[in-house]
Symmetry: C2
Subunit: 501 residues, 2 copies
């Protein structure tokens, strides 16, 4: 996104009286072999003194844009100076930052913080409703911009640089978060036919939205495909490099929603789990968020005792999504639940309790593993898990069947998100959430939205690639897909009604 180069210019004379900026631009155009270099008005005034001070030997920073370069900075050639860029993953719950040295391509530091919009509403929908009023939309915008500014300031301080040393920012997020970031209206995102204000936002300057970076820093926002398919996924595909492989691979991001992309260098097809009413809440509704003391692994032993592992080996306080998948797989395997996910009374025995007509299964008794209270899961938790696994699998099935690809032929199965790190593919396969393909093809790629943004900052000419990825993707609207709805019903069994696996 940024090019840094040294240049020595011919000195002006009566016979070569070109203007300072024109002389500089001519030198850059020659060096970069392009005519498409622009200069910002606000830069012009500093150039005359800089050129003379450094005896016409300069170091220039150029920002790549869709239609060429823009001169962003001119400094004396030998000046010690760090040119940094920052990648941002703009999540609904968490915002992650990664500071990069643009010359060495090294990561200088990382940070993450809770999206300050959480205080307005935990989920996207609540924030969109809140933002119906323009004043409140500005408030949501202010929250996220201030949050990013403050955390960039802290991150810079910890890396001994200043925010003004940051010359570009690449940000990837879901479509609603991106709209809030750009202070765009969100109301049409959630009303049929679900139209974003923009798919491909223009590249603009930091100060246009109050970001406190170098004043000439360019901001790149990853484009979206639609209201439910955001730039975070495009960034993930960029990172997974699916768009350049010959073999067909699949990318899934299981977060608040579940997004899936299938394809190779010739075609990409995508769909998102929030597209159908059955999927509301999505995969993340199951279990609690991963954190200290949260159960992330459950094994039932031969004596039908439950063995649990917790994050950081602390006393158990609850169970996270991936732990729940493990648990459900074990419960099904040992007959604690039937194929509809209902508790089997005879097997559950004294582990089963009923409160307000809802059945709960005790996983960890108070006192075991140092637990302060019984840790239970309810029939509703199991039902949510089954709905989620059904949604996940149905999306995977629908998207592969639409293009006639077998799961078996997939070269890679990328699982993005924190969930991907913790999930045990064997368990996910055994409850029918993920297809039964060789385990080694599952690749947990972590925060691929952030990693794609980092890649974008450090490799040249990726704007065109990102635009190409966006344009390549055919978006499959699940909401209007009848086949999807019938498949979804069929997938609400453990592992499935058909012997697909």
């Amino acid at each position: 996104m940024i090019k840094i180069l040294k240049l020595e210019l011919a000195h002006p004379s009566l016979k070569d009286n070109r203007g300072d900026a024109d002389r500089l631009l001519a030198g850059l155009k020659k060096e970069l072999k392009t005519d498409r270099i622009k200069i910002d008005l606000k830069m012009l005034k500093d150039i005359p003194d800089i050129l003379r001070r450094c005896n016409y030997k300069v170091r220039c920073v150029l920002a790549e844009e869709r239609d060429g370069f823009v001169l962003t900075m001119v400094v004396v050639a030998d000046k010690e100076k760090i040119f940094a860029g920052i990648a941002v993953d703009l999540g609904t719950t968490m915002i992650a930052l990664c500071l990069v040295n643009l010359e060495t391509k090294e990561v200088m530091g990382e940070a993450s913080f809770i999206n300050p919009q959480v205080k307005i509403g935990a989920d996207v929908l609540a924030r969109i409703h809140y933002a119906d009023d323009e004043k409140r939309r500005k408030e949501l915008n202010r929250l996220v911009i201030d949050g990013i500014n403050n955390n960039i300031k802290k991150l810079c301080a910890s890396c001994s640089i200043l925010p003004k040393d940051i010359y570009c920012l690449a940000i990837a997020g879901n479509t609603a978060m991106t709209h809030f970031f750009l202070s765009l209206p969100t109301k049409y995102l959630i009303r049929e036919p679900y139209i974003p204000a923009v798919n491909t936002p223009p590249i603009f300057k930091a100060d246009e939205i109050g970001l406190e970076l170098n004043r000439f820093a360019n901001i790149f926002v990853f484009p979206n495909i639609g209201s439910y398919f955001g730039g975070d996924i495009i960034s993930g595909i960029l990172f997974a490099r699916m768009y350049e492989k010959e073999e067909v691979s699949i990318f899934t991001d299981i977060g608040t929603n579940a997004e899936v992309v299938l394809g190779n260098r010739d075609w990409l097809i995508g769909c998102a789990g929030a597209a159908g009413p059955a999927l509301e809440g999505g995969a993340a509704k199951i279990g609690m968020q991963a954190g200290q003391g949260v159960i992330d692994k459950v094994v039932i032993n031969e004596n039908l005792e439950f063995e649990v592992c917790t994050i950081d080996n602390l006393h158990p306080i609850g169970i996270c999504g991936s732990g729940l998948i493990d648990l459900a797989a074990q419960l099904f395997l040992y007959g604690f639940i039937d194929k509809r996910g209902r508790f089997v009374d005879s097997r559950c025995a004294e582990r089963l309790i009923v409160k307000d007509e809802i059945k709960y299964l005790i996983i960890v008794k108070k006192g075991e593993y140092g637990a302060d209270a019984d840790i239970t899961i309810s029939s509703i938790d199991i039902d949510n898990l089954i709905r989620s696994k059904a949604a996940m699998f149905t999306i995977l099935e629908t998207v592969t069947r639409t293009v006639g690809v077998d799961f078996a032929s997939l070269s890679d199965f990328f699982v993005a998100g924190t969930f991907g790190y913790f999930i045990n593919p064997v368990s996910a396969i055994s409850i029918g959430m993920l297809p039964n393909i060789p385990i080694e093809r599952y690749k947990a790629i972590g925060n691929s939205s952030l990693k794609g943004a980092v890649l974008f900052l450090t490799e040249p000419k990726l704007i065109e690639t990102v635009d190409k990825i966006r344009d390549m993707i055919t978006y499959l609207e699940l909401n209007v897909n009848q086949e999807f709805m019938s498949r979804f019903s069929g997938a609400r069994f453990l592992p499935h009604t058909d012997a697909y696996l």
Copy 2:
């Protein structure tokens, strides 16, 4: 510079869920048959509501830039709305405005006012010295921007529109004035080798320099060739259309400086009168500024009596430059001055008076024509006139000889500026200020800088033409031209030492 077009877009649907801005841009790209259309971040937020309010029938304003179009405005298709543009001639002394309806191409109104920077310094040099300090440079910038804003506001009010109805501004001025307008450093303009901060300023938005027009209005500043050859001349050449003629013609602008351009559609050569130390002050130093009661024409009759005409036929108060040329021609013709411009005592007789060792010739005696006092010219006035005419002629001669063109072969001799309206070519020829070509080839074109800017606003695709004109011009540096200096010495006689005419 601006394109206005109506467009009807396909309604969005689940099968066509493109973002609002992307839908609009796709429509515009198809209509204009170009991929090069950009959109400003600040516009995005209004588009969703506008599109729905007008049922996807819109009227769009697009600004032409060097590398394509930028969407400037979207309104409901049938809304009554005036799209105006404003042309500005940014003179050292006077600033002229012309408000244009961009759809009908009609001039809506004109205005002119004294450049408020005059209170800092009457001439360019004084202002450049003042601007050495950055704070003062900002003060000069503020003066001109405020002056333009205030006068645009008044002009708009008189035409019943608002400044926010102005969608583009094209401004032409000399290089120093343009630098002040853009708040650029001017100190290197007057130091050898006389380098501007920029020749071709970027196109930018009104609010970037505090111009109170439509917030998305584009500002186009005519490019310069060098410190002494400004955008006002480029604009004049555009207006005179020299750059597209097959025949060779010449363009002169006699203001504070004298600028000359010679050429046709294949080549252009230019030079400026402030380039040599002998020309300091230039042609405008002679006489007073044209105004009520100023003598603009003098005839000596057979009885050697002086017959004068004044502007608006009021009592004479002084003599202007063009009047002085008339007078000098008559004085030489009737033997009142010799070929070196010295008063001939015997002929001047009692009209000659001496004060502080300087000789004065009485043109109008106190009481004649209602004059309140004697109106005189001094030997210094005559000397200045001769230096000016020598400078003018020498520039003309140098530039034509450099390319081997005869005066006789010139198809047109454009005389720009107020001076051009008042000058009597016969007198100017007879003192050797202008070459002896058929009178009808002299074309007084008035404020061609303003007229070129108006043309620029109303005809499509002139950005490229203006850049082409700028790049075509070979600038002849008179300061280092030995031949020029010897010709200049030779031209300090009436009409000349050689029988060139």
